[in-house]
Amino acid sequence: MTAALQERPPVLPKSDKTPRRRSRFVGWAFAAPFTVLFLVFALLPVMASLVMSVTDMRATDLRTPLAVNFVGLDNYTRLFSDDLFLRSAVNTLVFVVIGVPLTIVAALAAANGLNSGLIRFRAVFRVGFYLPVVTSIVAIAVIWRFLLDPEAGLVDNLLGLVGIDGPNWLGDTSTSLGSIIVMAAWRNFGSLMVIFLAALQSIPHDLYEAATLDGAGRWQQFRRITIPLMRPALLFGAVITGIGYLQLFEEPLVMTQGGPLSSTLSVSYHIYNQFGFGNYGYAAAASYVLFVAIVALSVMQFRLLGNRDD
């Protein structure tokens, strides 16, 4: 994964008399099928939506999309005086800043647990922990809403057994975003765990044996051996999770509809609402602001977690 932005010298077909020309042809021949589809079905719509973001297009213009006014960067500047957008940006930031590390730590803990000399039933745990990833969000939402229900929910009923009066997790502004964070981590840690587990399995055993002989404890081994050797996998996890979490949408949509009092409104949700209200130009502009944030976060993660000698 460190290789993400790292370029390796490509292999040139040496047997050919004009290697460059042949390789040029071969390269594009392999790239062509994807590129054609990509240009038509991905890049064209992106261009159209970029244009949309500098117009005052609304849903009422859908039949006559050419008859709209060019407004320059007006949509972009308006975004930053939109209270709900700013609120959603703060919520999303909190979600990413807490959610990404939480998910990574949970995945790391699970992966380490499964890797610690435990041989039996590993497949059962692996599939079990992966279940939330493969299940439709609708089912997850129904179950979690019931779990977190202050009256009927299992969580508060369990708390009640030990004498704690549990809060209304999703209904209270002080716990709603936290509940969404925990739920997202629960839902997503499985796929990261699988990546980390794989990374752990490929760390040579003799490294640990040598460390044990040197008298290093388990925690020290984890810090000195495991973490450094897992850095590429951690980076991969952080980038992919960051991209996904900055686009947080489904969880608040099905759990809280952005409430209570906009405490779980995310940027993507706000964009979704704006499209729903028919403010196409404005929503497109917001989407590209989010895009810039995602790119920035990814670059930052590569700087922070990437190998310096890459």
């Binding site: 500098v54 009422t60 006559t64 028919g278």
Partner: protein
Amino acid sequence: MRYRWLAVATSAALVASMAAGCGRDSGGGQEAAKDVAEGKASGEITVWAMGTEGEKLGEFAKAFTAENPDAKVSVTAVPWDSAGQKITSAIAAKATPDVSMIGTTMQGEIAKTGALDPTPTDLFQKDSFFPGAWDTTVVDDTAYGVPWYVETRGIFYRTDLAQKAGFPDGPKTWDDLKAMAKAMQTKAGAKWGVNLQPGKTGSWQSILPFGWSNGAEINSDDKYTFDTPQMTEALTYYQSFFSEKLSPTNLPEGALEPAFAKGEIGAFMSGPWHVGILNEQGVKGKFAVAPMPSKQSSTSFIGGSNIAVFKDAKNRDAAWKFLQWLSKPDVQAKWYQTVSDLPAVQSAWDDTALSGDPMLKVFGEQLKSAKAPPAFPTWTQLAATFDVEAEKVCVGGSDPAAALKAVQSQADSIGTGS
């Protein structure tokens, strides 16, 4: 290949036109409806309908094709979830069916795209529908489509608890509702007197009726008017149920009916669909419905769905004839018996299936005066703002006047969209 270049050319043209700075013509104004040719309907009529309506309409329309042997009705059932997205996308791509069911709150936005055909005046009489329902089809003084079915809101209450609370016939006025809610808690052992929606998505449907009952109007001509004294008074009254702990502020989804069944909640405001849910929950015979409590009047919200013909319809005349058939009183009454949709046509209510049911009678009376918000294209956005502000009032305890002022300033800044 030809098509691909067409697409490239289209988006190139889009870019070019932006650079040229084309503007829209600020249109609006009344649009004339064309008459529909005489005779029987023929050809295929493609129809989109949501949920249960979509599921049952195809079979139901066989009675229509029996009368019009050359016609064929092809119904596509569309899920309620994201139905709006499907319709707007189809409009954008000019790939609409002949006919579609359209939720009343989306009517303004969709009609304003210019995608809907004005309702032919030779086929439909405005007066045969509930006035509030007809109003939801009107955009820029032109009716687009007709009301198909309606629903409205009333107060559901536990008859046994109301008896103990001293209101055996339910609340009649604002004061009654408040007093009954209090007595339900003090005398009848209910945990909550009445459940009202504490803001959040769709709460305008619960709050506006109190405003209307108090003489408020949320629009006059082409302007929203939210911050009126009447509306402020209504919202203050509504808020008092939460501040006086008569209504829960954070009842989870799905918890209302079991709590009502157990007598923990004495009453709640909702629509006709709740009769069926309550009967399933085993409360049958233990509850009744009262009309909205009155202040100056008893005025509820009218919802439901319209059905409209698209301008790009391939079979326009037959489509309108199909809608004309759907609007016949006997067909409307039969449709009620098929899917329990309440008829939008007033005379259909004379049918014994409807007039014989005491609870339906309450809704039927209420419908005569029930109102809907204006069909402005920006309504859905304003409604969302209203819901957010209402939540601040009900849950957060903010000042109702300030909240309405905030809604009004948002309304002033985005306008009606017409």
